[in-house]
Symmetry: C2
Subunit: 356 residues, 2 copies
């Protein structure tokens, strides 16, 4: 029997409650598909600051590295917002990405058929379906370049450095090309090559690599144009490949267009099979501890984990199907619609288990 060690980073706000439901579901599929899961827990973000005085204790890095995969709830909250940059919960998130080498962030923006009416876009704009995969570079660019303050012309200047090496572009482009091959063989690389040097190197490198993927239809869009196209014609996109900062902005925009932000999962992958999986929504401190949060994005993050890190694609599919089935009748408050059952966070977890 296959055994997997999963490190849980429950985090802050609604993090603990949604991770608990995801664990419930993971245990159910493990039973059904004949594998075993052992859990360890570690602190990240605000909870780590409170307990250890730092958002990313060394112990957390060690535990994550020793695991087969990591499941994260969410980090952050107003309690820690006044701390200086490096001591904030977000620094823990950036730190763990760097420490585990999680250079590839996959953010699917999909519309769940039963939730179609939740999209802010008109039906004729959405068309038949929306199913975009944003592949965001996650350990390079302006997030990790040199930054600081200096004197310039007798006053203070602050700076950050956007930077990409060819090898960094290549490895993330490879993920995107492979992803496109498994999907509709359409890849849109997004940059600002009409202004930025790092974008020009990005574009050259992607074009160079495209020779290895003759079946993939590749096009290039500027980031400003992409922000527009997502709003007026999201159906044109299959896989979007972009850098760290543009990916941050565009993946959030794309997820909102789906109208299903409480439903969207994400995967952050490294060179090895170790990955980190998390819902794309935040820690929602305002509703924490009330058992009303939507655990489905975290449950679907477990499905991504099964697919990308644990090589249990059948179990992954079973979760996705179960979620779709449960959604037809049952809703947490954030996605509630008249005529459906209103359920709590833990009831939603139970329902997915039952549907499995």
């Amino acid at each position: 029997m296959n055994k997997y060690n999963i490190c849980l980073l429950k985090g802050d706000g609604i993090g603990p409650e949604i991770v608990n439901e995801a664990v419930k579901v993971l245990d159910c599929v493990a039973d059904k598909y004949g594998f075993q899961v052992n859990y360890d827990e570690a602190l990240l973000g605000g909870s780590a600051i409170d307990a250890k005085g730092t958002p990313l204790p060394q112990e957390t890095i060690d535990k994550c590295k020793a695991s087969d995969s990591v499941l994260l709830g969410a980090v952050g909250g107003p309690k820690w917002d006044k701390l200086p940059g490096k001591e904030r919960p977000e620094a823990g998130l950036l730190g763990i990405r760097g420490a585990l080498g999680l250079f590839a962030n996959l953010r699917p923006a999909v519309i769940f058929e039963p939730l179609k009416s939740a999209s802010p876009l008109k039906d004729e704009i959405i068309g038949d379906k929306l199913d975009v995969m944003v592949v965001r570079e996650l350990t390079g660019g302006i997030y990790f370049g040199k930054r600081g303050r200096r004197e310039a012309d007798g006053e203070v200047e602050a700076y950050d450095t956007e930077q990409y090496k060819v090898s960094e572009i290549k490895r993330i482009a490879k993920v995107a090309f492979e992803m496109a091959m498994k999907r509709n063989k359409k890849l849109t690389s997004v940059d600002k090559a009409n202004v930025l040097e790092a974008s020009r190197l990005w574009r050259e490198t992607v074009i160079e690599m495209s020779k290895d993927y003759p079946e993939v239809e590749l096009n290039h869009l500027y980031v400003d144009n992409t922000a527009m196209q997502l709003v007026i014609n999201p159906g044109q996109f299959d896989v979007i490949l972009t850098n760290n900062i543009f990916g941050d902005i565009l993946s959030d925009e794309a997820s909102m267009i789906s109208g299903s932000i409480g439903m969207l999962a994400s995967a952050s992958l490294s060179d090895s099979s170790l990955g980190l999986y998390e819902p794309i929504h935040g820690s929602a401190p305002d509703i924490a501890g009330q058992n009303i949060a939507n655990p489905l994005a975290t449950i679907l993050s477990v499905a991504m984990m099964l697919k990308y890190s644990l090589n249990e694609p059948k179990a992954a599919e079973a979760i996705e199907n179960a979620v779709n089935k449960v959604l037809a009748e049952n809703r947490t408050p954030d996605i509630y619609e008249e005529g459906k059952n209103k359920v709590t966070c833990s009831e939603m977890g139970d329902l997915v288990c039952k549907a499995l």
Copy 2:
């Protein structure tokens, strides 16, 4: 009688035809409101490359500086897309912004009542109206920081520098605060202060300045969150203040949400009254020379020029009213709707003159 010298940069693609209509309208209001306009012309972008071998000839800078204000059509086209970065039409645009010190870019995103149905967003998302003013810093940040290629770990690395000095942030923030005072006294400053040092200085400086504007309600949003909020609740925004690159992305997203991209004007202002006015849409080479382009964004750019550079607010308002009146019945192909008159570019110019 007041006399104004206007430098026309007709540019490429549909640039010449839309500028011609805007000039027609400017001459009409000049007659009506008792001022005189003299025109000079200069080359920018592709047309300058073809004639002079550079996208921004010195003569163009000189002519612009000698004028009271500049009206630009649009630059760029596939013909020049293969040239290296510094020789492309876009370099002319960035160059003229720098040369004239046009640090403040104002991009209104409004929905024109008769065009309301053109927004890709659902009616209940748009609500009563959309009227957002994006104030984008235009001569600093990553657009003008040091960039290049270097060796790093034995391979090629490309880099760009995001950078802001306190004085640069102050002068653009001042424009935004003043704008908010004239509008609904609500200002949203957009940054990525949880990651970028330049954003942290941006936020500190804006907070510091807000003490001089106690009546303005100021809030801060991260750029990724703003990209989301524009899609699900654009009505929450009045004035958005942001840096060069975020402003590029967000103003395009906002304009698309209005559904009226063929209608949107922009102003780029300097320390003096000299400004550059242009439609936000591009040069549309595919329809150039066919007399079917929509000249209204350029005509409305003239209205902005009258308001911000020439201090002729009544003439500005007259143009805006005339455009609204004409729109009720008449449409160029890009905004055509059944039951309306389909008109050409030059007919649209004539109609606005007649409505004045």
